[in-house]
Amino acid sequence: MASLLSRFCRKLALPGSAHGSRMTSTTACGSETVKSLNLYSAINQALHIALETDPRSYVFGEDVGFGGVFRCTTGLAERFGKNRVFNTPLCEQGIVGFGIGLAAMGNRAVVEIQVADYIYPAFDQIVNEAAKFRYRSGNQFNCGGLTIRAPYGAVGHGGHYHSQSPEAFFCHVPGIKVVIPRSPREAKGLLLSSIRDPNPVVFFEPKWLYRQAVEEVPEHDYMIPLSQAEIIREGSDITLVGWGAQLTVMEQACLDAEKEGISCELIDLKTLLPWDKETVEASVKKTGRLLISHEAPITGGFGAEISATILERCFLKLEAPVSRVCGLDTPFPLVFEPFYMPTKNKASSSSSLSSPSKTHIF
C-alpha cells in the first residue's frame, strides 16, 4: 500500500510515508513547498484556502463546527468565525436548500453532507433546484457557488448506510457536476476547482482514504481542472477506467496483469459529469480493450454510460467486449463486504484482463 501510494506522487521521489499516520515533515521541491498529508488534511487545507481567498464563502453542515466527524473542517470555525463556518440542524434538504439560497446571492457555499448515504433527502433540492437554477431562469440567476461535499464508499465495516457510492444518480442530472478525487493531492486541487467552478458541484470524497492515503501535497493554492481525465499509468494492451478509492485496487490489478505480460493503461476519470470522453476514447482506440471498475452496484452504474459511449465511438477498434468489474446488485452488506467488493482478484479474473481460459463475469 505504501509503495502504491508513492506512485501517486508525481513530483517527489520520496519513499512512501508510514501509512495511517500523519507526518508533519515539510520538504521543498523546487519553488514549491509540500507537506505529507492524508486526505482529510488535504481537504482541510483546500477549505482553509477557499475561505481565505473569498470572504464571501461559507462552510456548513452537521458537526462541521468542531472539525467534522471526519476532521475535514478542523480549525475553520476558529479561524474564520462562526458566522462563516457553522453547524446546521440535522436536515439535509435544509442544508442544501440553504446553500442554494446563499449561492444564488453570489456567495460560495461549501456544504457538507455527513455521509453520502444521507444525501437523498436533499435530492429534490439538488436535482430540481440547484441543477436547473440557471437554466430555468434564463441565466438571470444561478447557484454556481454551491459545492456539496460528501464522504462516499466502502470503509471496511460501513454496511448499508456508511458505504454507498451514489454517484450514478447524480451523473444523470444535467446542470450539476460530479467530481471524485483519488488521493490527497488530487483532492485539494479538485476541491478548489469545484468550489470556484461557476456551477453547482457534488464532490464525493473516498472516506476510506481519509486517513489511509498519505501523499506529498503542495501547500500553495492550486487547482486541478475539471472534466479532464488523467492517464496515471501508461500501457498498450488494455485501458482501465475508474475513480476515487477504486484506483488503488485497479493499480494492484494492473501490477498483477503486468506479471503476465499484459500492459495496462490506467485512467482516473476525476470528473464524472461532464466526463472526458476524448481521453478514454483515444486510449481505447490505442489498446482495443476497456475495463471499467466501480464500487457501486453494476446495474445502472456509471460504468454503463462509459461502456455505451465507448462502444459508440470505438466499436471497430474493440478486440473484446467492454468489461465492468463492479459491486454486486445488492445493498452494501456488512459481513459480506469482502465478497461484495470489486477486488483486484475480480478485476484480474475478468475476461479483459486474463487469458481466455479463466474468464469470469462480475
Partner: protein, 471 residues
C-alpha cells in the same frame, strides 16, 4: 449565536463533568479500515501503535474543549439539561392537541370596507392606497384575460390568483424593492407591483424570444433579477430553505433588506417547510414567511392537510414570532407585512405570517374545482368576501376613487393586456441554440455535439418540427 453556542457547550461539559457521562457524548467512531490482513497482524505492531496514536489525535480537540471553565450552580428546584434549565412538576399533564381558542385573526377593515375602531394599523396615504387598488384591479383583469387565453388554446397553461389580490398587492406594497422575493406561484401581483410589465408577463406565458426565462418553463413561472424576484419553480416549498439562505446572505452583507417567501397551506406539509423555518430560526436569518392559507391544495381541503390550528401555531414550534391575519383585508396585510419586515431586518430573525383567504379560482387551468367543492361556496367568497371590493369601498369612502377611475383602470388594463398578448403571440420563439445554453455557465462538449446533431436533423426535416425557431 457564538454566545449561545458557548453557553450550551458549557452546560454540556458541566453535565459530563458532574455526571461522568463522557463516554456517551463522544462522536461515532469512524476508525479506518485496517489495511493489513490477519496474517500480517502479528508483524504489524508498529501499525497498531500508529492507530492508537491516531485515536489520541482525534480526541485531542475534545480534550481542549474540556478545559473550558464553567460555573453552573445546581439549583435543586430545576433540572439541568443540555437545552437549558426546565422546571419540574409532579402533575402528569399532557399539553392539549389544540388550545380551546383558535388564534384570532388580525383585521383592520370590516367586510364593508370600514376601519374597525381602535384598530392597530399603519396608515396608508392616498397615493399608496390608490396605487394598491389599481394594481389589485389590474391583477384581476390580467387573471381573467390570461385564463381565457388558455381556454382559447393560445397559451398552454395558467394559474390565477383570484381571491388573493389583497395578499398579492398589499404584501408587495409593504416591502422595499431590495427585499428578495422567493415566490411559490400564486403571487404574480408581487412582480406586477415591482414593475414587471404586462408585456413581460405575456412573453413568459408564450415563451417567446423576449421571455426572460428563454422559453424554458411553463407559463406563470416568472422570474426577474432586476426586480429581486427569484424564478418560480413548480416543486412546492423548495424556496423556503433557500429563503433562509438568502436572508442569511443579506444579514452578512448588512443590507437593509430581508428575504420574503410565500407558500400555500398545502405547501406547509412539505419537509422543506420544516427545514426552511428551522434553519431561518437557528441561523437567525431575516426572512418573512408568508403562508397563504386559502383552504385548498388542488382538491385537498385543509382538514385533510393538517390537524393543527392552521399554520400560525407552527411558528412557535420553531421559535418564530407569528401572526394570523385576514388575508382579504389589504390594510391588515399591509400592516402585518410591513411590521414583520421591520422586525426581520432590525432583529435579524424570521417572522411567520398566516394570511387567511380563499382560492376563488381553480387550482390552475388543468383543474375544475366544481368537481370537489360546492359552487355556492365559490360564489360566496367571490361575491361577499371579495378583497378587491372591500378595499375599493375604503378607498372610495375616503374620496380617493370614483366610478370613472374604475372603468378607466379596467378598460386600460384590458386593452394593454390584449395588446401584450397579441404581440407576444406573434413573436418568434427563442432561437434553437437556447435549448442548449445555460445548462452550465459554458456549454460542455456533449451539448455542443448534441446541438450540432439536432441542427442537422432539423435542417434535413423541418416539417417534423414546429415553426418559429431560428436555427
Amino acid at each position: 449565536m457564538a454566545i449561545w453556542f458557548s453557553r450550551s457547550r458549557n452546560i454540556v461539559f458541566s453535565l459530563r463533568h458532574n455526571l461522568n457521562l463522557s463516554g456517551i457524548l463522544i462522536k461515532r467512531d469512524y476508525s479506518p479500515r485496517p489495511a493489513f490482513t490477519n496474517s500480517q497482524l502479528s508483524s504489524k505492531s508498529v501499525c497498531l501503535d500508529s492507530f492508537t496514536s491516531l485515536r489520541h489525535e482525534s480526541t485531542a480537540v475534545e480534550k481542549q474543549l474540556d478545559l473550558v471553565q464553567q460555573s453552573d450552580e445546581e439549583d435543586p428546584q430545576e433540572l439541568n439539561f443540555p437545552g437549558g434549565k426546565v422546571g419540574y412538576t409532579s402533575e402528569m399533564k399532557f399539553i392539549p392537541e389544540s388550545s380551546s381558542l383558535r388564534v384570532p385573526c388580525y383585521r383592520v377593515l370590516d367586510e364593508d370596507g370600514r376601519i374597525i375602531s381602535n384598530s392597530d394599523y399603519i396608515p396608508v396615504s392616498e397615493k399608496l392606497a390608490v396605487r394598491m387598488y389599481e394594481h389589485m384591479a389590474t391583477l384581476q383583469v390580467m387573471d381573467h384575460i390570461f385564463y381565457e387565453a388558455q381556454r382559447q388554446g393560445r397559451i398552454s397553461f395558467f394559474i390565477t390568483a383570484v381571491g388573493e389580490e389583497a395578499i398579492n398587492i398589499a404584501s408587495a406594497a409593504a416591502l422595499s424593492p431590495d427585499d428578495v422575493v422567493l415566490p411559490q406561484y400564486r403571487e404574480p401581483g408581487v412582480l406586477l407591483w415591482r414593475g414587471f410589465t404586462l408585456q413581460e408577463f405575456a412573453n413568459q406565458c408564450f415563451g417567446n424570444k423576449a421571455d426572460r426565462g428563454k422559453g424554458r418553463q411553463m407559463p406563470v413561472h416568472y422570474g426577474s433579477n432586476r426586480h429581486n424576484h427569484f424564478t418560480v419553480s413548480s416543486p412546492i416549498a423548495t424556496q423556503l430553505p433557500q429563503a433562509a439562505g438568502v436572508g442569511y446572505s443579506l444579514k452578512m452583507e448588512k443590507k437593509n433588506a430581508c428575504a420574503v417567501t410565500f407558500i400555500g397551506d398545502g405547501g406547509t406539509s412539505e419537509g422543506d417547510f420544516h427545514a426552511g423555518l428551522n434553519f431561518a430560526a437557528v441561523l437567525e436569518a431575516p426572512v418573512v414567511f408568508i403562508c397563504r392559507n386559502n383552504g385548498w391544495a388542488i382538491s385537498t381541503h385543509i382538514s385533510e392537510q393538517f390537524r393543527s390550528d392552521g399554520i400560525v401555531v407552527k411558528g412557535q414550534a420553531y421559535g418564530i414570532r407569528s401572526i394570523r391575519v385576514d388575508g382579504n383585508d389589504a390594510l391588515a396585510v399591509y400592516s402585518a407585512v410591513r411590521s414583520a419586515r421591520e422586525m426581520a431586518v432590525k432583529e435579524q430573525r424570521p417572522v411567520l405570517i398566516e394570511a387567511m383567504t380563499y382560492r376563488v379560482g381553480h387550482h390552475s387551468t388543468s383543474d375544475d374545482s366544481t368537481k370537489y367543492r360546492a359552487a355556492d361556496e365559490i360564489q360566496y367568497w367571490k361575491m361577499s368576501r371579495n378583497p378587491v371590493n372591500r378595499f375599493r369601498k375604503w378607498v372610495e369612502d375616503n374620496g380617493w376613487w370614483s366610478e370613472e377611475d374604475e372603468s378607466k383602470i379596467r378598460s386600460n388594463a384590458r386593452k394593454q393586456i390584449l395588446q401584450a398578448i397579441q404581440a407576444a403571440e406573434k413573436w418568434d420563439k427563442p432561437p434553437l441554440t437556447e435549448l442548449f445554453s445555460d445548462v452550465y455557465d459554458v456549454k460542455p462538449k456533449n451539448l455542443e455535439e448534441q446541438e450540432l446533431g439536432l441542427k442537422e436533423l432539423v435542417e434535413k426535416r423541418p416539417q417534423d418540427y414546429p415553426p418559429g425557431f431560428q436555427i
